[in-house]
Symmetry: C2
Subunit: 337 residues, 2 copies
């Protein structure tokens, strides 16, 4: 987390922007934390060999400009504080130390890049899932709970941990990197460089991987045909759509992803014992297909499951927007706490 520029009007409008692997999503929050406006643009694709992240910073500035264009002149003149969420290991100085799912951001000093694009503005930079946890705790599905685990199931898996009502950032700001908990040392390779990370099984990316495996194994004939006959071109969304339309093989693939979601949550509950688990991210769009499977594997696998109160597993109130809402909240107060 870091701040630059002049303080804005803390009690006024706040802007939050969440940089994801596929889209940059922004919200404007009014002083009562109602969402005034939403804007989304595609995340610029990485340039081979380059890791400047400048194109991403330009996209963030575009989202900010489009959000502000929706505000009336007085609010625009007040220079709303801006929060920006980025996936991966964000240090306390605004440098993204490691980001398997945003390779164009690797090593980038976001404080510098964003200051170039948004000169003079107050900018707070944080890990995206930490911000999502903040939003759900303050305003969303985890209100009233002081011990919370948030998992954002998107391209990868992000995590936010709340202990005693505060987001845990850890010694260097890197806490909550739950997606890279290895759950099988012999599992599939992960962009992080290791094998068998939880996010290879239980994210949107994991669904795509499982879909292609099932397609190559000949279990998704109709889905493969619809994708043009090439099993390698089957995407997670294709399998979700087929499952929704009643394809049993596709439904089995999505439920297996749900099993892995519950499996990883059981591991994390053993470590953290939260009172509430909130799930966000793009995979939630297909939650009707896998959330029951996740709850079932969670309750079967969590240590001492029959001798403890099971934390409820709920969908993020803000859905895919949780990170952006949390970014705006944190920007307004000048910190994630």
């Amino acid at each position: 987390m870091t701040q630059t520029g002049d303080p804005g009007s803390g009690a006024g409008v706040a802007l939050g922007v969440d940089v994801g692997g596929t889209k940059v999503f922004g919200v404007a929050l009014d002083p009562d934390n109602e969402i005034l406006a939403e804007v989304r643009v595609p995340t610029p694709v990485p340039t081979p060999g380059a890791s400047s992240g400048r194109s991403v910073a330009i996209a963030v500035a575009e989202v900010v400009a489009r959000l502000e264009a929706t505000l009336d002149r007085a609010l625009r003149a007040a220079h709303a504080p801006i929060g920006v969420g980025v996936p991966g290991m964000m240090d306390r100085d605004g440098r993204l130390r490691f980001s398997p799912n945003l390779p164009q951001g690797h090593g980038v000093d976001w404080r510098v890049l964003l200051s170039e694009q948004l000169a003079g503005r107050e900018i707070l930079i944080e890990n995206d899932a930490n911000l999502a946890a903040l939003a759900e705790h303050e305003l969303g599905a985890a209100q009233g709970y002081d011990q919370v685990l948030m998992a954002t199931l998107g391209t990868g898996i992000g995590g936010g941990v709340i202990v005693d009502g505060r987001v845990v950032v850890g010694g260097s700001g890197f806490a909550g990197e739950i997606g890279h908990m290895v759950v099988d040392p012999a599992g599939p390779p992960c962009p992080c460089g290791r094998r068998g990370c939880w996010e290879r099984y239980a994210s949107g990316g994991g669904l795509g991987l499982a879909a292609r495996e099932a397609a190559l194994a000949g279990q998704l004939g109709d889905v493969v045909a619809a994708a043009g006959g090439d099993p390698e071109r089957v995407r997670g969304e294709d399998v979700s759509a087929a499952a929704l339309a009643g394809d049993a093989g596709a439904a089995a693939v999505v439920e297996q992803v749900g099993w892995w979601v519950g499996f990883g949550l059981a591991n994390l509950v053993g470590v953290l014992d939260p009172e509430c688990i909130v799930l966000g991210g793009g995979l939630l769009a297909a939650a009707s297909l896998w959330l029951d499977a996740a709850r079932n594997s969670f309750s079967a696998l969590v240590e001492g499951g029959s001798n403890r109160a099971l934390a409820p597993i709920v969908a993020a109130h803000f859905g895919e927007g949780a990170g952006a809402v949390g970014a705006a909240l944190a920007a307004r107060r000048g910190a994630i706490w």
Copy 2:
């Protein structure tokens, strides 16, 4: 955590007792937190079919009596507060909800049982590894760090997590059950009922398992011969002793356990990002054989390892006594905080 009985003299002597899978170990701390006395007795073996835990409570009372016998009359009369650490999922009312490595304690209401044996005394009951973390943070190897992970590598693996200087207990008191993080869903069965828990690989019990596997695979000829020729009778201690004496096959088995220690710590550091990792428990007695291997696998496997400061991995200052020291500290203040 729970308390019963009359408050003792908070500023005087405090007693701490750690109930382990193999021994019950107690310490008396003077007002300056110096250890006045230590007592250990074997943990009573479980009676088949019974889970009363009364025999364990009697052993705790015996340890308390023997500790007090070392005190002079005035201190004895002051009724030192007593802290008791127990492995497993201890709820906030003193009931042990689940304890794979203390089956004789499963479901036991320790508040009732200990009050029977130590009538009228102030007793605080907590998870043993949470208490060990407290001791190392306040007085031991983790002094000066506010974000700490403690792992006790004994019969199983216990965990204590410190965030912002406080022990994390979670919503129900069950936080820190790191040993049952599943690291391979197809791994060996665990007493907790699942497969592939981290403690099956990286604890004293895990060393025994690895030793017998290697012995059955014919890799530990001399060790098997020394154990009477039966590979099933090879114990972890036999392999450690052989490795210390220069047996390369035995050394490889112990180093493999070290690899798993580092592997699991890497997973947990991703979640928690501690500034310091403290290792305790009986496996530390052989640390010279495996600690380097653990540090190596940790630094190779932790996410973004080359882009972050690596938390130091250090041995508990109080060794196997950390839980008992923490129990005494918590008893004196009346809470783990």
